[in-house]
């Protein structure tokens, strides 16, 4: 059963005379109860997908395509209906936990107010919040509630945000770059945290990350994005152990543990994308075909892949 279906999602931002194609024709489904990962390097458009899901993009963005959540077309919803979905049925764990907490208010108030709207008594709400915080490895939650956000460490802030996001009891949790800017220890903590959320709550999750280790630990299925497109989509273990697309291969082999083999060149300009395959200039296997025709995404060995070569080989 698919909880979320995205079809042909494109996002463009006007820039000078042209426009920046941040996301082009992205389609994927998220099944209920699974953890779906989008991995890609900076500028691949992965975060834009997450924001587009909740219609949180800036006003000048030109969005097209369909997003269907639990049978509802998100793009056709009225703002009032959208508000009912945001935060309650789909919640977004923001990229930067430091920015998502109000520096002038105590932590307790900020987590407690989540329950305010649902007609839950303040005391009972706090109890629930405290229980949740304890579950997410936050020690001594009562004391934390009396502190201000800037008195917490980065990892603690992230857990607090996670506790808040989960207390909405959303059907879908979107986590945008949860390990960005964290030091290795906090990163390990985050991996632990997401494994726990996945195992204990069984939530459907969309994990947007550049961190292959995190994706490997937590995700069931992974979509790899490059230059605004999905280039490969498959089971997590298959993608990370036997990738099919040359970009995915390069990305994985560039990881220090897998050999630190550099991928030559860099991602193309998003205003003027190259002819043919967006990756052909960096691809070691590039054939004549690759520089002429843009490949479509196709089924391949149970997954989906966007490459001419799979069929040439």
């Amino acid at each position: 059963m698919n909880l979320l279906e995205i079809r042909e999602l494109s996002v463009e931002f006007p820039a000078g005379e042209g426009s920046v194609k941040a996301v082009s024709r992205v389609s994927f489904d998220i099944r209920e109860g699974e953890t779906f990962g989008i991995i890609g390097e900076s500028g691949s458009g992965k975060s834009v997908v997450g924001l587009a899901l909740l219609r949180l993009l800036p006003a000048n963005a030109r969005v097209s395509g369909n997003i269907c959540f639990a049978g509802k077309e998100l793009f056709f919803l009225k703002p009032s209906e959208l508000r009912k979905i945001r935060g309650k049925r789909i919640s977004l764990m923001p990229q930067n936990p430091a920015g998502a907490l109000n520096p002038a208010l105590k932590n307790g108030l900020q987590i407690g107010e989540v329950f305010e709207r649902r007609g839950i008594e303040k005391k009972e709400g706090m109890k629930k919040a405290l229980g949740l915080m304890k579950k997410l490895f936050l020690q001594d939650p009562e004391k934390l509630c009396g502190l201000y956000p800037n008195q917490l460490s980065g990892g603690m802030r992230q857990r607090l945000i996670a506790a808040m996001s989960l207390s909405f009891e959303p059907e879908l949790l979107i986590a945008d770059e949860p390990t960005k800017g964290l030091d290795p220890e906090a990163r390990a903590g985050a991996v632990e945290l997401f494994t726990k959320i996945k195992n204990e709550y069984g939530k459907t999750m969309l994990l947007i990350t550049h961190d292959l280790d995190l994706a490997h630990e937590v995700c069931d299925r992974i979509a790899v994005m490059y230059a605004g497109e999905i280039v490969e989509l498959d089971e997590a273990s298959k993608i990370l152990h036997s990738p099919g697309h040359p970009y995915t291969k390069g990305l994985i082999r560039a990881h220090p543990r897998n050999g630190l083999v550099p991928l030559s060149g860099q991602s193309p300009s998003r205003i003027k994308l190259p002819e043919g395959c967006f990756f052909h200039e960096r691809c070691r296997h590039a054939a004549v075909e690759c520089s002429r025709r843009h490949p479509e995404i196709q089924n391949h060995k149970g997954g989906r892949i966007r490459c001419h070569l799979q069929f040439l080989q």
């Binding site: 931002f13 820039a15 000078g16 920046v20 941040a22 900076s42 500028g43 975060s47 924001l51 993009l57 800036p58 006003a59 920015g99 300009s269 998003r270 205003i271």
Partner: protein
């Protein structure tokens, strides 16, 4: 509103980057109609100030007691004052005086402020401690009152007025510059200039000042308006310039005695002051918005 997004997209390379600094800046200026308007008005005003002696229909100091306190008419477009002097001519000449004093004051305070701020921020330690204390003391004194006291000592006159106002203004530039230098000093490109063996003077001249100057220029633009207001205030109190110099504030002060019968003498000079200050406010805000995309300002019209 969502500058958080804009910032992130810029960083991730979605948005176009600022190109060559000068060209891009000019382009942005021309995209904003409020700044275009202000720029045009400023050019007009500067032109008027430069060619005031040629443009003014009468000698601004020619006394004509037979035609005193006249309202606006064909002969005198803006009327005459209590000594029968042509108001339009006096306002035109007044533009010249106000603008030149204001530019002088801002230039002096800018230079002194940059020097003091650089010294305090770059060298730190005891130098910083001393300069910062002096800055604090100068800033703990309401500006106009300070200038007033100094003018009381020096006596009226254009040079004295410039001196008094510069003494008041420099500390704000120095404080701003110091803050800028302190944050720049920690940036990697300055550190790498240090490790590559460049001297202090080279680093200040090539790296610190060019990168620190933008907010000071914004302040300077807005300050031009403030200084013009201060000049007018002091002259209004009879302390700024000698009585026969046609200055807007002094004209207002003289005109207020005849407010019942000849209100134009108070209205027109005040309008002139407001107009100039509005121009500098728009320009200052506009420059800040263009230079600093994080600051949410928007057009001011």
């Amino acid at each position: 509103m969502d500058n958080v997004f804009a910032d992130r997209f810029r960083r991730e390379g979605f948005l176009p980057q600022l190109g060559e600094y000068g060209g891009e800046f000019a382009k942005r200026v021309f995209q904003r109609k409020d700044m275009l308007f202000a720029l045009a008005a400023l050019v007009l005003f500067a032109g008027v100030a430069l060619f005031a002696p040629l443009l003014s229909p009468y000698d601004p100091n020619a006394i004509d007691l037979k035609n005193k306190n006249l309202g606006p008419s064909e002969g005198h477009l803006l009327g005459t004052d209590y000594l029968g002097r042509d108001l339009l001519s006096r306002i035109l000449i007044g533009a010249r005086i106000s603008l030149s004093i204001a530019f002088g004051v801002v230039l002096i305070s800018l230079l002194v402020g940059i020097a003091a701020g650089c010294a305090a921020g770059y060298y730190g330690g005891l130098v910083d401690e001393c300069i910062s204390r002096v800055i604090d003391i100068f800033l703990s004194f309401p500006g106009v009152i300070f200038a007033l006291t100094i003018m009381g000592v020096l006596g009226s006159g254009i040079f004295n007025l410039m001196l008094a106002l510069s003494v008041v203004q420099w500390a704000r530039y120095a404080r701003l510059m110091r803050g800028q230098v302190l944050s720049l000093k920690k940036q990697e490109f300055v550190l790498s200039a240090v490790t590559s063996g460049a001297g202090d003077f080279h680093i200040i001249r090539r790296h610190i000042v060019p990168n620190a100057i933008a907010p000071l220029l914004v302040l300077a633009t807005i300050d031009l308006g403030h200084v013009i207001l201060s000049i007018a205030t002091l002259s209004f109190l009879g302390i700024g310039l000698p009585a026969d110099v046609p200055e807007w504030g002094a004209m207002l002060s003289a005109g207020k005695e005849f407010m019942r019968t000849a209100p134009h003498q108070t209205i027109f000079p005040g309008l002139a002051i407001t107009f100039v200050v509005v121009i500098f406010s728009i320009l200052g805000d506009g420059i800040r918005d263009i230079l600093d995309p994080h600051h949410e300002g928007g057009e001011m019209y």
